[in-house]
Symmetry: C2
């Protein structure tokens, strides 16, 4: 059966916005340098054409792995961009995905259509190909909105962390300073943190308390519709 | 230039989930009865194929108007669905949009590929074509999430409304009963409502106070990152 033959078809791609936090809780973006035309030599988001026999999400996972070597990342769908002239080649609609990962846990390796793959500081990005600057802007907004209402950041910290590390992570993603006392009150009130009665090691002056994230408690609260807003 | 000729292309459609509130603040869904194969005679979300010279959003607006007569609605992008076998015809990726409107302000008229167009109670829906049941489920979740954090419902009420009407709207969309006192406290604390010092007309026993929504105040608060959570 082919009912749709009469409609000219657009091309469809996926693009991946991968945010990374480094050891100092600084926000970075994973970019590739295009090895092919158009925009050859320009930096861009990793991505490429969808195959007919794979789901959109599978295409995103595949392209990310092919172009950057990054695998086993939970990619969440961001938004679909389809302005008529967004790509010089053809009418191309792109479905963008995003993820937030801990940079230290992954090794980058550029392959296939990517000449290079690198982490860039979110504050010092090169010019990007296509409408990727716009896609990145939408992804940053989404990430902020999400962290504000869901404690997504915990998985990016070491298993044991201090409240200062956690606050730094929030400040990085939200791009704003948070009041220390207010932040601590809100976070502790959620009762998502387990005080493991250990102190930070290797710090001679006023070592801080270490905490762990209570995932089961998080799941319970989430199901109960709890407000995690920071 | 045509760099992408070598990639077989999927077809791309749009689908629209239009939620409506009737005068009694009951939630309804706008469906069309398919006039063409596949699923001829089945109920489905309004939608259709994207043209190469229109943006995705323009396609959604056009298809909604063509199939249901509904125009001048703010459609927001919901999610893109692209499972390999979601459509029996071909590999078809669909970009879903959603809107929440006041039923009384619109006239429905089925045209083009739609044999009929009708409002169905959200609680008594027919079997839907394709994966439209799934799309609808995602839209309901999004609408709930949105109302919980943004006062989107005000524009659906008459210019002057009672707190009971407003609470009913929230209860309908959130699909849960809300505590009256708690709801009123939260809503009044937002200072989004102007007490116009008028009482409900046509009610002999204990008429309620009438309020208006303060849009300017809403815009100010929104820019300041105010928490509108209910």
């Amino acid at each position: 059966m082919n009912y749709s033959y009469k409609y000219p078809k657009p091309s469809v791609t996926v693009d991946c916005v991968v945010f990374g936090l480094d050891d100092a809780q600084k926000l970075k973006i994973l970019l590739i340098q295009r090895g092919i035309s158009p925009y050859e030599g320009k930096w861009a988001l990793p991505g490429g054409f969808i195959k007919l026999d794979e789901s959109i999400e599978a295409a995103a996972v595949r392209e990310l792995k092919e172009e950057t070597g990054i695998d086993r990342v939970f990619l969440e769908q961001l938004y679909t961009f389809g302005e008529v002239n967004r790509d010089p080649r053809d009418r191309i609609i792109t479905i963008a995905y995003y993820a937030l990962i801990n940079i230290g846990e992954y090794t980058i390796q550029a392959r296939t259509d990517a000449r290079n793959a690198e982490w860039f500081s979110a504050k010092e990005l090169p010019d990007l190909a296509f409408d990727h600057q716009k896609i990145l802007g939408v992804a940053k907004q989404r990430l902020k909105g999400k962290l504000r209402y869901q404690p997504i950041g915990f998985e990016l910290l070491p298993t044991k962390f201090t409240l200062t590390q956690l606050q730094k992570l929030y400040e990085t993603v939200l791009e704003q300073k948070l009041d220390k006392r207010n932040f601590r009150n809100k976070i502790l009130k959620m009762k998502l943190l387990v005080d493991i009665e250990e102190m930070q090691a290797g710090v001679s002056h006023r070592p801080a308390k270490l905490y762990q994230f209570d995932k089961n408690r998080y799941k319970e609260l989430e199901q109960a519709g709890f407000n995690f807003e920071i």
